[in-house]
């Protein structure tokens, strides 16, 4: 995403309000808190707008501010007490114990089941998936938002989709 060099803060931020709100809600799970988070994000971003480098991804930049704002909030601090362990690289392949090809297909017409599975996902895995699938951010921008190396983004996405898949399989029972 590139922007006209002279774009104002308002021009850049306005179209992102719905996304920021929705992501803030995913993080905080509370409407009042989500609105507060976005409000605080906007004022922080406005103050720091001088440090935003034109030509880089504004969405990634402001999502990073949103995330840091969340982490300092009461809910965020409480959530950070749970330490998230990255997958050991060796575990990644061994969990895939040669299922039959058809095992990979699950019924996805049931959106409620998908919503429930997403809710059950560990927050860091859900977060990376939302940034990728919902916000359409590139891996390098997700790495910027989460402040982790791109390799970690890749392994988290892989782990998130695998876990989501397993949760859905458990929920929905039979494969197609």
């Amino acid at each position: 995403m590139s922007f006209a060099p002279g774009a104002t803060f308002e021009q850049l931020a306005l179209p992102l309000l719905p996304s920021l709100y929705s992501h803030a809600f995913w993080l905080s799970r509370n409407h009042a808190e989500a609105e507060d988070l976005v409000q605080e994000t906007i004022s922080k971003a406005l103050r720091a707008f001088d440090s935003f480098q034109a030509g880089t991804n504004f969405k990634a930049w402001i999502f990073r501010i949103l995330r840091n704002t969340f982490l300092t909030s009461r809910t965020g601090i409480a959530a950070s007490r749970t330490v998230f362990l990255e997958d050991h690289p060796d575990l990644l392949d061994s969990t895939d114990t040669n299922p039959t090809p058809e095992d990979h297909l699950i019924r996805l017409d049931n959106q409620a089941a998908v919503n429930e599975a997403l809710d059950q996902l560990q927050p860091p895995l859900r977060e990376v998936l939302l940034l990728c699938d919902v916000e359409d951010l590139k891996y390098k921008d997700i790495a910027l938002v989460l402040d982790v190396p791109i390799g970690t983004v890749m392994s988290r996405i892989s782990r998130a989709r695998r876990t989501l898949h397993q949760l859905l399989q458990t929920q929905l029972g039979d494969p197609l």
Binding site: F9, E35, T72, S158
Partner: protein, 255 residues
């Protein structure tokens, strides 16, 4: 990025995911595509993961912003309508007085914020230090061995640090925890000096707030503070400040 699982000859899960997300170079994508035309299981994997991606995108719609909230946020973004120059001349004297008063308030608020930020940080440091003491829970990584403690943080923090070979007299490393300070991920190292508990917070210097003065003593606890080229090191303890300073210096030298 091209790595195939050697045992099977299939693309690694990460690579299939990167393919779905459009993150592969055209050559890499071509390779994967070639593989998919010949490999039924991988093709099904990709199909399934693509459906899952679409379903995840749909799932976000249930958390759309309520229109009122969106309206308030939009209002926050809109800059105040610039006042026409002509209007300024119609300002009554009391309006000027009000303007001057609000300026004074704004300026003093700025000063207050600076102090407030510093106080908030030292309060946060103290809270975290006391929480660690009172919980009685063992640190996430419980070891006196720097070769155990340091690697534990790998992958959990966006920065790295070194631990000294030798500590000042009667200073022992107890373990470490992951924590957040001012929204920055931080390493929390726990030490004892003469049986006094010490919490040491390490954060990347670049992202840290610009706090120049931390009070040396707060509620009877000593707070010591140092920066290296990349790190900000803050120590909190009820031990005497000179001992605390020796530990902070040892940590600074190790970087």
């Amino acid at each position: 990025m091209t790595q195939t699982t050697q045992a099977t000859g299939h693309p690694a899960p990460e690579q299939l995911n990167a393919f779905i997300d459009g993150e592969l170079s055209s050559n890499e994508a071509h390779e994967v595509q070639q593989h998919l035309t010949d490999c039924h299981p991988c093709a099904l994997r990709v199909l399934s993961a693509t459906q899952l991606k679409a379903a995840t995108a749909r799932a976000s719609q249930r958390f759309a912003a309520p229109p009122e909230a969106l309206a308030r946020l939009t209002a926050q973004l809109r800059p105040q309508e610039p006042k026409k120059t002509a209007r300024i001349y119609t300002f009554r004297p009391f309006a000027w007085a009000a303007l001057a008063a609000s300026l004074v308030v704004a300026i003093s608020l700025l000063g207050w914020r600076q102090v407030h930020q510093t106080n908030a940080l030292s309060a946060e440091l103290l809270d975290q230090h006391l929480a660690t003491l009172s919980s009685g829970a063992a640190p996430e990584v419980l070891s006196t061995d720097r070769h155990t403690v340091k690697p534990w943080f790998q992958g959990k923090l966006p920065f790295s640090f070194n631990l000294p070979d030798v500590y000042p007299a009667d200073t022992t490393l107890k373990g470490g925890n992951l924590t957040y300070l001012n929204g920055q991920p931080a390493a929390l190292l726990l030490f004892t000096i003469h049986k006094h508990e010490v919490s040491v917070f390490l954060t990347p210097r670049a992202g840290s707030p610009t706090i120049t003065t931390l009070p040396g003593i707060r509620s009877g606890f000593a707070i010591d503070h140092a920066t290296t080229q990349d790190l900000r090191i803050i120590a909190v303890s009820d031990v005497n400040p000179a001992d605390l300073d020796r530990l902070v210096s040892a940590l600074v030298q190790a970087q």
